[in-house]
């Protein structure tokens, strides 16, 4: 008995190969959608905004007159926000990652902490905004200050840095850890002299990527009540401030077409900062990541 009808198979084969080819092309098109959108977005924004990228644009404060509008307050505010967010987020997240990887016993509580962190990663940023509004702005009485916003942002990006740091710490091989203990080092000495130096590139990459998420995040700032038009820059963490994404959001809503170009210019500045941060992250990842 013949198991395979050769004639039938060869008759169908060309059709099947054709469908395969067509679908491969469609899959390729799907892959290109992202590329095309990214290119369109960049070109559209550059064409719209490059004319406004003048020195005045960087030195002027926000204004209701398009000719005078600038991003000085927004940029300095964003720098303040990042400079305050970074240390808080780093201490909280790297500490958490060290505890979970190095000290945590295997029990229900630790399992719960881990599940909790992955759930926090899925909480929408508006909800973090509501938390910040109630806890830091109102209850702690910080008002719409740099510190209140930084605390909110830190909690929001905490899961990202924790997960990245955990991976980096886990990738340090057991052998060099054992070598350190074997030489008589204590646990904390092993952590500070062996494990942290070996895992720092991964941790820093995670921190930069998390901060680059925080720098463009708008919703929590809106909810905390960060002002959009501010004619001074903060002098301390308890002062109020404005931020670049906040400035973009307030300009987007203006009907004046000139403001559309100004918004585009501000977006270009934001994207350039993001591009710089990501480049540094990739550079660190490639240059310093050691293979054991």
């Amino acid at each position: 008995m013949e198991l395979i009808n050769k004639e039938q198979v060869s008759k169908k084969l060309s059709g099947r190969l054709m469908v395969n080819k067509v679908m491969k092309f469609i899959f390729l098109l799907c892959t290109l959608v992202g590329l095309v959108v990214l290119a369109t977005l960049l070109i559209d924004t550059i064409l719209d905004g490059w004319r406004y990228l003048t020195v005045d644009f960087f030195t002027n404060f926000s204004s209701s007159r398009p000719d005078n509008a600038g991003i000085r307050g927004a940029i300095i505010g964003t720098l303040w926000l990042m400079a305050t967010t970074a240390p808080i987020a780093i201490i909280l997240s790297v500490g958490t990652a060290l505890y979970l990887e190095e000290y945590a016993p295997k029990n229900k509580l630790v399992d719960f902490v881990k599940i909790n962190i992955s759930n926090l990663a899925g909480v929408p940023s508006v909800v973090f905004g509501l938390l910040g509004l109630t806890l830091f702005v109102r209850m702690a009485g910080l008002g719409n200050s740099v510190l209140a916003a930084a605390l909110t942002m830190s909690l929001m990006i905490l899961p990202v840095i924790v997960v990245a740091s955990q991976e980096a710490i886990r990738s340090v091989p057991g052998s060099i850890r054992e070598a350190s203990i074997g030489m008589g080092a204590t646990k904390w000495q092993t952590i500070t002299r062996i494990i942290l130096p070996a895992s720092i590139p991964g941790i820093i990459t995670g921190i930069i990527l998390a901060l680059s998420r925080a720098i463009g995040e708008t919703a929590p700032l809106v909810i905390i009540g960060i002002p959009t038009i501010l004619l001074f820059t903060p002098t301390g963490v308890l002062d109020t401030f404005s931020a670049l994404p906040m400035q973009i959001f307030s300009w987007v809503k203006l009907p004046n077409p000139e403001f559309q170009s100004i918004t585009a210019a501000a977006i270009l500045v934001l994207l350039f900062i993001l591009f710089l941060m990501n480049s540094v992250a990739i550079y660190i990842r490639n240059k310093y990541s050691k293979r054991f």
Binding site: V9, K24, G34, D44, T45, G122, T134, L158, W188, I223
Partner: protein
């Protein structure tokens, strides 16, 4: 140097009380830091719950759940969350219908067809797309996509569901593509070779072997993407408008749960008013939605991990 001296040195070092104290203190300090993440969750729950309860002492929960109209700023305010949920669902549906086929197609191409060189070229682009701030996407939706759509169908409103829906879709494509690709790459090559050896074409191998084997990972990526679309804020508050309604019309202005929260917060919601407390009731609803999605996604990915 004799052995005796070394021993003496070690003993002298050990005698330093500072070291022992540090060794004892560090785990406790780190544990306290770790508990901050738990406190954050408790903080979110307590904040949302207490203020939502305050809201329900003023507005009946039955009206909240059964009324179909939401008008927080009128003189006779209506509090039917249904209108806001409909807005969120319309945006999410458009985003998912657009992003799932495109994201899956990209994942299949990257995992099964593409050469290493193309993969190395495309993956960073997806990472960049995922890293673009949502306020920038919002600007793109309002100033580029909306005019484009209105050029084709002039009857579409300046604020509509289609443009922000599509742009939210663009935002979640990288997530679906990269998570689904991870799931597909985890399918053992022996299964692929088995299918090809039996004479199937590459497409048949993908459809009948790889996709079924990776299905729970793919489902997890889709559910996570849904959760992200539901929680997306800036794109919808910029490009979708601010008129809550329960209709299925995609061409008119609408408002999502997140859009309402932003609208109230960017105006001056005085502390203690109904509108102020409604922020938290809406936030609570949003939180429940996304939490459910995250739990379902975790269930899917646990199932996925068990298989191989």
């Amino acid at each position: 140097m004799s052995e005796y001296n070394i021993r003496e040195m070690i003993d002298k070092k050990k005698g330093k009380s500072g070291n022992a104290a540090i060794e004892k203190a560090v785990p406790i300090i780190l544990l306290i830091i770790t508990l901050v993440s738990v406190l954050t969750t408790i903080g979110i729950l307590v904040t949302l719950l207490t203020e939502t309860v305050m809201f329900f002492t003023r507005v009946s929960p039955i009206e909240f759940l059964t009324s179909t109209e939401w008008s927080a700023f009128s003189s006779d305010p209506q509090w039917g969350i249904f209108a806001l949920i409909m807005g969120t669902l319309k945006i999410t549906a458009i985003a998912i219908v657009f992003a799932v086929p495109v994201g899956l197609g990209a994942a299949i191409y990257l995992s099964e067809y593409a050469s290493d060189r193309i993969r190395r070229l495309v993956k960073p682009v997806l990472e960049i797309l995922a890293g673009i701030p949502t306020v920038v996407y919002g600007f793109f939706a309002l100033t580029f996509v909306t005019p484009l759509i209105r050029g084709i169908w002039p009857e579409v409103n300046l604020f509509n569901a289609i443009s922000p829906g599509l742009v939210v879709g663009v935002m979640i494509i990288p997530m679906i593509a990269s998570l689904s690709e991870d799931a597909m790459s985890a399918v053992p090559n022996s299964m692929r070779e088995g299918a090809l050896g039996l004479g199937s074409t590459r497409l048949e191998m993908v459809l009948k072997v790889v996709l079924p084997a990776a299905v729970s990972g793919i489902m997890a990526s889709i559910v996570l993407a849904v959760s992200r679309a539901i929680g997306e804020t800036m794109i919808v508050s910029i490009a979708a408008g601010s008129t809550p309604n329960g209709s299925l019309n995609l061409m008119e202005s609408l408002q999502t749960m997140t859009g309402f929260i932003v609208q109230v917060a960017s105006g001056d919601a005085t502390y203690g008013t109904d509108t102020y407390f409604s922020l938290y009731a809406v936030g609570m609803t949003l939180f429940v939605f996304t939490l459910l999605m995250n739990i379902i996604a975790q269930w899917f990915s646990r199932k996925f991990r068990e298989e191989y």
